[in-house]
């Protein structure tokens, strides 16, 4: 390839940068400096980052360059910069989860994801903004102010991982890490025109991922291209004995799948319950066009029904708050993080109470209360118990559908990015954003959001969701890369090239 110009470095994919580094055309330090300069230039407007660790990033980059120069065997992502969602612990680096209650907390240990990123030589630029403890679909619930969508700074970048998706769309980093409990990787990917993958539950270790809802949380890759997501997926996935729910099985070959991009003969199911009414006209239009492309590429497209999906949102908002209310109990001001109201007279209960009152935002408090209520004696069976049954029914719907088809598809979100503040006072409207993404978390299988164009009425990105069975992550990449290749062919570039200048 031709030498890459400095000014273009930040727009390149990780795969391109990797090839250029291996060819000696560019160094990791140059790429890292370019990203840091871009952050410097645009993050005042975007606010994707909560913390940037310039020195460590450059030191890591220099180390990779030295090793490469010495002829060391390096993985494909060695020297590539990455933006890390602020929900992963990283030794000595602030980890706030977007909450004031963890304002000054620096963990004494690395999460498994960070350990694997370090081992792969990935350059971690810093920590990205998020809805507090990953509760939200807009990053407006961050304790440190919202992140702005680079497509339109008045709009939300999605959530909870809006910082990671915005960092990609603003060309602050070629790669980012997210976590997905009900759509927190896929929905931000959809509204920023980027790629996001929620791997199979247990596919990526949760050790060091600050828990929202343990049975739903899953870490996954975010990128501007399907291949980049696959390269990152390969680095972070795999069994971890420190996470009991981690799957002890080989990781599907997602990189090969992303390179193949062949859907000929694949059976693709349209989920009847995810589409139609309640979905924005432009979203439906771009979705339908994408499905037509898949048909043209040789896939066999049929409609399937998943009748229990309509109960998913209700079940999710019983299970998630229940687990969250317990997971967030530890933030009590006794051992780390914020301590409020310790005036020498207050009892331990009072200090705990004042700390939680001062440290948690409204959405976190709302969900803790919901969860505490649904687990209460006398209500458990009616709420938490019933929700678990719905979960089983949804898993059965998926199992039945995957008898007929290889993957399922739907729009990732019902609408394009809404305006900041638009749904802040209407939690229910906010929750409806995740209506198409939640079933996958409840069933524990995997899904991807891939950009399929701009909605004609507002010029904002639309995402298509691909869903596959547990451990069928490679299928996501086959379909995603096929679609991406066809669309890039049509557009002449990846969708993010159309992000307006900041």
């Amino acid at each position: 390839m031709a030498p890459v110009m400095d000014s273009d470095l930040v727009r390149q994919s990780a795969a391109t940068l990797s090839a250029a580094m291996q060819a000696g055309e560019v160094t990791s330090v140059q790429v890292t400096e370019a990203c840091l300069a871009r952050i410097e230039e645009v993050d005042d407007k975007v606010h994707a980052f909560l913390h940037v660790d310039r020195e460590t990033a450059l030191a890591t980059a220099a180390d990779i360059d030295t090793r490469r120069a010495a002829g060391a065997e390096l993985g494909p992502l060695a020297g590539i910069p990455l933006a890390l969602k602020d929900v992963f612990t990283m030794r000595g680096v602030p980890t706030t989860c977007g909450s004031r209650i963890l304002a000054d907390w620096r963990p004494p240990y690395d999460s498994t994801v960070v350990e694997r990123l370090r081992a792969a030589g990935v350059v971690i630029l810093g920590k990205t903004n998020m809805d507090e403890f990953a509760m939200g679909s807009s990053t407006e619930h961050s304790g440190y102010g919202p992140t702005h969508n680079p497509w339109d700074l008045e709009r939300i970048p999605g959530g909870s991982g809006g910082g990671s998706s915005a960092a990609l769309a603003a060309f602050e980093a070629p790669l980012a890490m997210g976590t997905d409990t009900g759509g927190s990787i896929r929905q931000p990917a959809a509204v920023t025109g980027t790629v996001g993958v929620k791997p199979t539950y247990g596919g990526v270790s949760r050790y060091g991922l600050v828990a929202l809802a343990s049975s739903l949380d899953q870490a996954g890759p975010c990128a501007r291209t399907v291949l980049d997501a696959a390269l990152l997926h390969e680095v972070i996935a795999g069994h971890d004995p420190r996470d009991s729910t981690s799957i002890d099985a080989p990781v599907p070959d997602v990189v090969a799948a992303a390179r193949s991009g062949d859907v000929r003969g694949m059976r693709i199911g349209l989920v009847r319950e995810l589409g139609g009414e309640g979905y924005q006209q432009g979203v439906r239009q771009r979705f339908d066009e994408a499905v037509a492309i898949l048909t043209d590429l040789g896939a066999d497209v049929v409609e399937v029904s998943c009748p229990n999906f309509e109960y998913a949102l209700g079940a999710y908002y019983l299970i998630l708050p229940a687990e969250a209310s317990s997971n967030l109990a530890r933030f009590d001001g006794m051992r780390y993080g914020l301590r409020a109201g310790d005036d020498g007279d207050a009892s331990v209960e009072e200090v705990m109470s004042r700390t939680r009152e001062a440290g948690f935002g409204a959405e976190v408090k709302r969900r803790i209360m919901l969860g505490t209520y649904s687990l209460s004696s006398g209500y458990y069976d009616a709420y938490y118990g019933q929700a678990q049954k719905v979960r089983t029914l949804i898993a059965r719907d998926f199992a039945a559908a995957f008898e007929q088809v290889d993957v399922l598809v739907s729009p990732t979100t019902p609408t394009t990015a809404f305006r900041l503040g638009e749904k802040l006072d209407d939690p229910l409207a906010m929750y409806l954003n995740d209506i198409a993404t939640i079933p996958v978390n409840l069933a524990g299988n995997c899904a991807m959001s891939v950009p399929v164009g701009l909605s004609p009425e507002d010029g904002l990105p639309v995402g298509l969701q691909i869903m596959a069975p547990a451990l069928g992550d490679d299928r996501l990449y086959r379909v995603g890369s096929a679609l991406e290749a066809a669309l890039v062919d049509r557009w002449g570039h990846v969708l993010t090239e159309e992000v307006p200048a900041l």
Binding site: P107, Y109, R206, V210, A211, D243, S244, T245, S377
Partner: protein, 507 residues
């Protein structure tokens, strides 16, 4: 908040005339695994505070638990020894409540899916009519993690309220606990306190025999919650009290007795027993009210989503069953027969906590009679005086074996042997060191004794004459003088024999 209070009690015998006690015992024991329940931290007792901790047992954000397989195995073995059914599939549960000794503000425990359930343990109590056996039914055996340890400084209550500050040591947080819960124990009547004690004793011995815990009660590794309620004869059970953290065998017995006496007085006065947790005070033997359960805590149990279910295979369970060691009751019966002692004599050894020590002493080559005599006599007395466990005395089975050998070869007398042990117990060294230091060797060579005898006869010619004249009973005066001259280090019987032979007098 101890000290004598104005709690009204009804004399025990009188209480039993009107009421039938119902007991329930919940026993928590720290398992003797090398690492904690859900992380790799060491479990060793006595480390400097907060040195045996990691992100997981500190409950740091992002940390996750991983089940200790040895703890599961120990629990299953304990369940099998208690004749329990073993669950083929069960889950951990979170017990949610806020307290600073709990790093996560929830405890990982088991709730409605215990690993072991429906078993029993037979215990024996001594009565005036001889030993009597009781079957204590077991409701469940489950696993959980221990909390940290709080120390409250300042204030005068020793509790968190009123303290100036509190220190917390998380070394204990995450230590594996096994909880054994009985079904209600009814029909013990006046033997209820003894049954409670015998049950906990048997449980402890069983765990030691299985090697799942060394059960150091002085280190708080066994804690018992004692539930007591009273039922007027023929009527339904009354409201129960729950006395928390009773941590010695004697205290279990006393707590049951006290609660029977207290509740009988309450009910006889026409009052009602309050459902509450109570604290037992070692110094007074009384219980005082703690938290009232009228506004009971709602623990919001739900299955622990960070852990996968425990699903022991049938093969594994059978393998563990086939390798269970001899249980304490069977062992006692075997030793009783081997040693040829009575049930009562065996019970005496058990009550004195001397069975293991006696067995080890016999194994060291000592005659069973002598072994039992030393441990249940002299050493039990000393242990009681010092208020320590028999096994914590400085004397060992090897010491006894050495002393007995010296007695047999005539180097020590019983009296000197006592002096040797006095030295050993005082920390003066082992048997031979004490003998050397104290100069405790029997004056045994005939020429030394003979010169002392001749000297005594010369000093008391009138006595010598009497003996020669056939008054053998007068020999005592000469023997006494010889013993005095040898500072008691001669064998009196031997002196007497030598004396009579010297004088040519027949016994």
């Amino acid at each position: 908040m101890s000290g004598s209070t104005a709690i009204t009690r009804m004399p025990f015998d009188q209480a039993l005339q009107s009421f039938e006690p119902v007991l329930g015992l919940e026993t928590h024991v720290e398992l003797g695994t090398a690492s904690k329940m859900f992380c790799g931290c060491a479990t060793e007792f006595g480390g400097a505070p907060n040195t045996q901790v990691c992100p997981t047992c500190l409950g740091l954000p992002g940390s996750l638990p991983v089940v200790n397989a040895v703890a599961v195995e120990s629990t299953i073995r304990m369940g099998l020894a208690l004749h329990c059914d073993i669950a083929s599939w069960c889950r951990f549960a979170r017990k949610n409540y806020f307290y600073p000794d709990m790093p996560k503000d929830y405890q990982i425990s088991q709730y409605d899916e215990p690993l072991c359930f429906d078993g029993y343990l037979d215990v024996v109590v001594a009565t005036d009519d001889g030993p009597r056996e009781f079957r204590v039914e077991i409701e469940r055996v489950h696993m959980e993690e221990d909390t940290g340890k709080l120390t409250h400084a300042g204030g005068d209550t020793g509790r968190i309220h009123g303290a100036d500050y509190s220190l917390v040591d998380y070394n204990r947080a995450g230590i594996p606990l096994i909880e054994i819960v009985t079904k209600p124990i009814v029909g013990a009547g006046s033997l209820a306190p003894l049954v409670a004690r015998a049950y906990v004793t048997e449980l402890r011995d069983l765990m030691r025999a299985l090697g799942v815990s060394d059960v150091r009660m002085d280190q708080g590794s066994l804690r018992c919650d004692v539930n007591v309620s009273l039922a007027p004869a023929g009527e339904p059970w009354g409201t129960r009290s729950e006395t928390k953290n009773v941590n010695s065998l004697r205290s279990v017995e006393r707590a049951v007795r006290f609660e029977i006496e207290r509740q009988a007085a309450v009910l006889t006065d026409g009052e009602r027993v309050v459902q509450e947790t109570r604290h037992f005070h070692e110094d007074t033997g009384e219980t005082t009210p703690g938290r009232s359960k009228e506004h009971a805590e709602d623990y919001r149990y739900f299955p622990e989503p960070d852990l996968v279910p425990v699903a022991p295979s049938e093969d594994w369970i059978e393998q563990l069953r086939s390798t269970l060691p001899e249980v304490p009751s069977a062992r006692r019966a075997r030793l009783r027969d081997e040693w040829g002692i009575s049930d009562l004599e065996m019970q005496t050894l058990v009550n004195a906590e001397a069975l293991e020590l006696v067995e080890a002493t016999i194994a060291a080559g000592v005659d069973q009679g002598a072994a039992r005599k030393w441990w249940t006599g002299e050493f039990t007395r000393v242990a009681n005086e010092q208020g320590v466990a028999l096994e914590d005395l400085r004397v060992t089975p090897a010491h006894i074996a050495r002393v007995e050998a010296l007695i047999t070869d005539g180097s020590l007398t019983d009296k000197l042997a006592r002096s040797v042990f006095e030295g050993v117990l005082a920390g003066e060294g082992d048997v031979d060191q004490v003998i050397a230091e104290r100069g405790l060797v029997v004056v045994g060579d005939d020429s030394t004794l003979m010169s002392a005898i001749e000297q005594a006869l010369a000093d008391q010619p009138d006595v010598a004459e009497k003996i020669r004249g056939g008054k053998v009973q007068a020999a005592g005066a000469i023997v006494g003088a010889v013993m005095k001259a040898t500072k008691g280090q001669a064998d009196a019987a031997k002196v007497r024999t030598l004396l009579l032979a010297h004088l040519g007098v027949e016994e």
